[in-house]
């Protein structure tokens, strides 16, 4: 709207200018205005990331200054005694995202392979659309469904996980706990479902732009479909596939509502994945409106800063890896 207003404002200038036959200069000024207005707005968008960093740094400074490095490595989070450490939440964020990746990466690969190489033409678009719709469903719906439908259902399997995986030496410790349905594992699974569409979409796109001659020559040598996928398509698209996975990871790290519903919100570390935990995003969502003191609020904003920095690094890596994809598309076009 601003743009069209600017255009409308600029139009009479040019029109009158034409009449006064002082054309070029007035035209240049309308052009100048439009070009610089749009440039300024674009810069504003780009700078907003820096703005986020500065704003969170300023607001979180009190806590960061007060606790120093211990803020990052302390596991205690006690609003009453005002002792705050972020480690529990950092670890919780990383574990839940790791579980999500373990689920989402192979599934996304399968989906991308199905859509790009196996599905008959008529099935391609509907399946693609269905997977994309998974991304359109808001995270609050995932959370609500996760808490009220998925968790009670999943708790039926937890005794089995206890008995079988929990009995294994070493990693058994990860799978022991009461069958509550909610907890780190459930949150990771729901997160995994949520990031499938992001990873699958990128894998599908890069699989589809793998040059046909490359695949055909492998088929001509007698390779099976799986061998072509595994030994031709995947190596060719490896960088972009990794980028897609990082993009999914970036989503998982910052996902808030679904995790808040399902993770159980316990402010301590436990070895078992079946026990409740917390992520950075979930603790901010849960406690922000309850944070009455300055230091408490500042600690939560400092957590937000940590989350922002982690996701920023992951997303930059993702985009750098994906730049190759743009170049490949450019070559095709």
């Amino acid at each position: 709207m601003k743009a069209s207003e600017a255009a409308r404002d600029a139009q009479p200038i040019a029109a009158t200018a034409d009449k006064n036959s002082a054309g070029p200069r007035a035209r240049i000024s309308a052009d100048f205005l439009f070009r610089n207005l749009s440039a300024a707005v674009a810069m504003l968008v780009a700078i907003s990331l820096l703005g986020i960093l500065i704003a969170l740094w300023r607001e979180g400074w009190e806590a960061l200054h007060h606790f120093g490095w211990r803020f990052l490595v302390s596991t205690s989070w006690n609003p009453v005694s005002e002792h705050f450490g972020a480690l529990v939440f950092i670890v919780g964020t990383l574990i839940s995202s790791a579980i999500a990746l373990v689920i989402a990466v192979p599934v996304s690969f399968g989906i991308a392979l199905f859509i790009s190489e196996m599905a008959p033409r008529w099935l391609r678009n509907p399946v693609s659309a269905a997977i994309e719709l998974l991304a359109a469903i808001p995270s609050i719906i995932y959370g609500m469904w996760g808490l009220l439908v998925f968790a009670p259902w999943f708790s039926n399997f937890e005794p089995w996980i206890n008995d079988h995986l929990g009995a294994l030496p070493g990693i058994g410790l990860l799978f022991q706990g009461p069958p509550m349905g909610i907890g780190m594992l459930s949150a990771g699974i729901v997160l995994g479902i949520m990031i499938i569409p992001f990873i699958a979409a990128i894998m599908r796109d890069v699989f589809l732009i793998t040059p046909a001659p490359l695949k055909e020559s492998a088929y001509a040598m007698g390779a099976t479909k799986w061998e072509v996928a595994r030994k031709v398509i995947l190596p060719y698209t490896r960088t972009a596939v990794t980028g897609g996975i990082f993009l999914g990871l970036g989503r998982a790290l910052g996902e808030t509502m679904a995790v808040t519903f399902i993770i159980g919100n316990a402010n301590n570390l436990s070895a078992s994945l079946l026990m409740p935990g917390s992520s950075i995003a979930s603790v901010i969502a849960n406690e922000f409106t309850e944070a009455t003191t300055h230091l408490y609020k500042s600690a939560l904003l400092a957590l937000g800063l940590i989350l922002f920095v982690i996701t920023f690094i992951v997303l930059v890596l993702a985009k750098l890896l994906l730049l190759r994809l743009d170049r490949m598309e450019g070559r095709k076009a």
Binding site: A14, A39, A46, F114, G254, L307, L315
Partner: protein, 281 residues
Amino acid sequence: MISRYQRRKLVNLFNLGVAVLATIFGVFWLIWILWTTLRYGASSVNWALFTQDTPAPGSSGGGLRNAFVGSLILLGMAVAIGAPVGVLAGTWLAEFAARRKLGAMVRFLNDILLSAPSIVIGLFAYAIIVDPSGHFSAYSGGVALALILIPVVVRTTDEMLRLVPGSLREAAIALGTPYWKLVTRITWRASASGILTGVLLGIARISGETAPLLFTALNNQFWSTSLDHPIANLPMVIFQFAMSPYTNWQQLAWAGAFVAVAFILLLSLVARLIVRRGRGA
């Protein structure tokens, strides 16, 4: 003993089978979630849902009128701020910076912003608006949502404008058209449906966002249209009601979830149709 050839065929069959299962796995969740919201939500949709405000805890009846209106106000604000900014910035990227280093950098940062956690955007809006002004307000929520909408619009505008053939621009320039007129009258018009799609997808994206509203628009149990006060909105009401122990509240949360999902799916569908029609023409 099976031959090497047979083993390769078996491995192939097995892995392709797993790929099909993975696809079914993905679609399975979609159907389950949609079916759940339909089953619990559709039955609770009635006239009162749209004519009555959110009920007090533990009481029966009530609706989500204030939440629907609040959400529409927030969406309206976000679009009013975000759409012009996004379209202008996208225009700059496509028309003035297509081959420049600076343009590539802005595009890169915009993509990062596109994937940035929405809770961080909410904290940012808190830091720049709520904290200085000293109170939660509807407009801070609108700004937070606009910040999420902007990168979506920037990206689609940029992509759609770059699809406009260069010969169209050259033809206009050859006639002596000033650049601003070329953009507003020709390239914008040529890609209008694409830009509209971007805005629609952006609205679909923000209409379910909850995290950025936690620290900005908050929630309001009562009817309020004041932009300077906390305002009721659908995502926050769903959050509060779904977490509550009251069956009436949970029922309303499902109804709200159903309306939200239906709204978002409709928007996505319309956006898809616009794109398809644009491609066919």
